[in-house]
């Protein structure tokens, strides 16, 4: 009987998750492109992977993806934590409203948010450029999305705006799960605000922080929408991530073999990070029972 209930989920997961993964895995060992004869595709072994590893573009995308992940997760954690604590400290009645406000950036579909930021950063019509001009700091609007360094950081800013709120919400839930008695005990024990935060709140929140950072990191490593929507990977391939590369190889260049190899590299990377991280985090989760 129990099996019966699992079957729908099993079919779904197999069809939409395991099948594509296996398919991609197989594709990554073949030379597949638009004009190739798919039925007699040539098996090329690891050549696609070698091509990926050797390419300058891969190294660029890899570097950008890592930089992007570290920067966004760090800033999102700091800002999210701030938002969570601020929301937690206000009166319970106001807390509900703040929580709803917090959720908004996260609720916007990623590609829509990317488009929104593209307009904000727009060289001629963007509000940021206009404001900077108005303050007289610059004589013409900065090329937020076309200057390599600026483009990278513009994408990071847009991502942080969108995802810090998710961090905030999750950390807020973590804060709320700490019993009020423990805060009260710390207060009467003579602990001032900063001491309480450092010695009680933060350590008790650590399990939540670690899990949140894990999920967000895995998400960031696969980042696609922000690059695709804001810069399309440009200028050049400066803001291409592994995901946008895989996408381009599949759908722009129609080189399915290489695209699959890219996809597998991301997949393995994410799995590796997850394994390492979960193993390290396990010990920290223990006191929560």
């Amino acid at each position: 009987m129990a099996v019966l209930f699992i079957i729908p989920a099993l079919i779904f997961v197999t069809l939409f998750m395991y099948y594509p993964i296996v398919q991609t895995f197989i594709y990554s060992f073949f030379s597949l492109h638009r004009t190739a004869d798919w039925l007699n595709a040539q098996f090329v072994g690891l050549q696609n992977y070698i091509a990926v590893m050797k390419s300058e573009a891969f190294r660029g995308a890899f570097g950008f993806t890592l930089y992007y992940t570290v920067m966004t997760v760090a800033f999102e954690l700091a800002i999210g934590l701030g938002m969570a604590i601020a929301t937690f400290s206000v009166h319970p009645r106001l807390r509900g409203i703040l929580r709803a406000v917090l959720v908004v950036p996260w609720a916007i579909p990623p590609i829509v948010s990317a488009m929104l930021w593209r307009w904000l950063f727009h060289a001629d019509a963007g509000i940021f450029g206009y404001l900077l001009m108005a303050t007289g700091l610059v004589s013409r609007p900065p090329a937020f999305l076309t200057d390599p360094t600026l483009a990278v950081h513009s994408i990071i800013v847009a991502s942080v705006w969108k995802n810090a709120s998710m961090m905030g919400i999750l950390l807020l839930a973590g804060l709320a799960s700490i019993p009020q008695d423990i805060y009260d005990a710390a207060k009467v024990d003579g602990a001032r605000t900063w001491f309480r935060f450092r010695r009680v709140t933060l350590p008790l929140l650590l399990p939540t922080i670690l899990v949140t950072v894990l999920f967000r990191s895995l998400w960031a490593l696969r980042m696609f929408e922000e690059s695709y929507g804001l810069t399309g990977g440009g200028p050049g391939t400066t803001t291409d991530t592994l995901s946008t590369f895989a996408y381009k190889y599949f759908f722009t260049y129609a080189r399915f073999g290489v695209g699959s190899a890219y996809a597998m590299v991301i997949f393995l990377m994410v799995v590796m990070v997850a394994i390492v991280y979960v193993n390290r985090v396990k010990g920290n989760l223990r006191f929560k029972e």
């Binding site: 019993p179 008695d181 423990i182 009260d184 005990a185 710390a186 207060k187 009467v188 024990d189 003579g190 602990a191 001032r192 001491f195 010695r199 009680v200 350590p203 008790l204 650590l206 006191f287 929560k288 029972e289």
Partner: protein
């Protein structure tokens, strides 16, 4: 060590008056118990003294210092919570050391005092454990350790024994009393359990509906309850109450099926009172039950018998009203059997039905 003085403290929540003009003193070095049913305001008062709740009006003094408006971490108090509220991520050592670290005590002194505290509470072998590895009784000791280690001016205890099983509770109760006497620190103890309150207290403060009902030593409250609430709250099983009519011409109280002639002491007290309804109170342990009628006794019938081993707790009916009384364990009685109850005049209480105040109460 200091006296705590609470002056005209009120706490108003939106529609609820949690504390209604509370004035009382918690004497230096004594254990004062705040007791009352749930929702009576006892915990609110304790948390107000702790600084976790700010009163709407009134003043609070610890020693000579006025502390309302002072944050809890500057009040030099220690509190034991019902949930113990141990820090789950710290070892027992760290838990006990926390108040000292928070107040920047030198490291070697922290070590010395934590070990000394652990020795007093006999938890030296637990210092490396985390709270989740402790039993309820052990957690209780750690919570106490965290409270006594900093040598506070006042101990505040919020139902600290409620989470223990009945047997351990009695053991910890005795230890707590011993510890408190030994340390001589002013202690304010909140409980809803009147038996716990009676055994622990140097002084009791009975609260109900945000007001103080009566303040006094346990035996004072037992012997001279100010009103029906205190009379019914202190003592287990509670005092029996029967509605009676006072008849000045017959010099007696008239109830369903009985007439109770009053002696000179009561007649003197009731001198200026017109005929009318009174509430008669009598403790179960003050009722004598006999098989045979005699003058001045109240007829009743046996309803339920509860064998307690040392004695039998008897429920008897007088008309529609039920009374409880004790009889010796070897008494042979049957359900429905007629019995006669004798109340000693000195053990009798009379209350005004309007004000609910005891007629023998003198301020």
């Amino acid at each position: 060590m200091s006296e705590v003085y609470v002056e005209e403290v009120c706490k108003q929540y939106r529609e609820v008056q949690a504390l209604d003009n509370i004035t009382c003193t918690f004497e230096d070095g004594q254990l004062t118990v705040l007791v009352g049913p749930s929702g009576c305001g006892k915990t609110t008062l304790l948390r107000t003294i702790a600084g976790l709740i700010e009163p709407t009006s009134g003043a609070i003094y610890i020693g000579k210092r006025r502390v309302d408006g002072v944050p809890p971490w500057e009040r030099n108090i220690a509190m034991v919570f019902q949930s113990y509220a141990l820090y789950p991520h710290m070892t027992v050592f760290k838990n006990i050391a926390f108040p000292l670290e928070a107040t920047r005590t030198p490291k070697d002194e922290i070590k010395r005092r934590v070990v000394e505290t652990a020795r007093i509470l006999q938890i030296e072998n637990l210092l490396d454990r985390k709270p989740r590895e402790l039993s309820g009784g052990q957690m209780q000791r750690v919570a106490l350790g965290r409270a006594i280690v900093r040598k506070p001016e006042v101990f505040l205890m919020d139902e600290p024994l409620s989470n223990l099983d009945a047997k351990l509770r009695v053991v910890m109760r005795a230890e707590l009393k011993h510890l408190q006497t030994q340390l001589g620190v002013t202690t304010i103890y909140v409980t809803h359990d009147q038996a716990e309150a009676m055994t622990l207290a140097d002084k009791l403060i009975v609260m109900n509906a945000g007001r103080i009902q009566q303040i006094g030593r346990p035996e004072e409250l037992y012997r001279h309850p100010r009103n029906i609430f205190v009379a019914g709250f202190i003592g287990s099983p509670p005092m029996n109450f029967i509605e009676v009519q006072y008849d000045p011409t017959a010099r007696a109280l008239v109830g369903t099926g009985f007439q109770y002639p009053l002696g000179p002491r009561w007649l003197d007290l009731l001198r200026n009172r017109p005929a009318g309804t009174l509430i008669l109170g009598i403790r179960p342990e003050s009722i004598q039950v006999s098989n045979t009628p005699s003058p001045g006794v109240v007829p009743a019938s046996v309803y339920v018998m509860e064998q307690l081993g040392r004695e039998i707790l008897l429920d008897v009916k007088i008309g529609p009203q039920t009374l409880r009384a004790f009889v010796p364990a070897d008494t042979r009685l049957q359900m429905g059997q007629d019995v006669w109850l004798q109340f000693h005049e000195d053990a009798l209480y009379l209350f005004d039905p309007e004000t609910e105040v005891s007629l023998s109460w003198k301020e």
